[in-house]
Symmetry: C2
Subunit: 106 residues, 2 copies
Amino acid sequence: MELLKQYYAVIFTNTRTVGDNGYAEMAAAMETLARKQKGFIDFETARDQLGISVSYWDSLEAIANWKANLDHQVAQNKGMSDWYSWYKVRVCRVEREYEFNHRKSK
Amino acid sequence: MELLKQYYAVIFTNTRTVGDNGYAEMAAAMETLARKQKGFIDFETARDQLGISVSYWDSLEAIANWKANLDHQVAQNKGMSDWYSWYKVRVCRVEREYEFNHRKSK
């Protein structure tokens, strides 16, 4: 088994309020901005009734820096006032991982 | 800050193959079965282009037991042969969490 380089996942689970209210534009801008941050690794997102976005970072410091980013703080405040009826954030350390790729497995 | 009782998240990120092929029925059955397992805490799922499902467990042992569950193994095999073109599984330890509820915050 390969040794896993330590990294972290931030699981952001949420339910939206009704209507867009500028959400889609801000969400796209925040993803673009997150991808430019030091320590950013990857971002995955999906939504149907529930929204789940997971961002991956190489340290807890990188996560703290992103949370404190001024543009991101504006978005976080709009998130609470306008966009989300509920959310939960979980900061996690990835302990192990494995991957399946259908084409490679044949 | 409250002390967090240690628990774990399994992040299952995936892309589907084309067509249902019995997937929806099996996914529902597996969620029902997972919820009955010892150590199960919660399950969250969302899909648009990407599927992200996160299950939460109270120990690594509970996660290992669920992975080894015979009915779940049948589903895992069908997942590789029929349902998923790609997936990645990350087993994570939740280090901290916080929650927002719009109604409670007013």
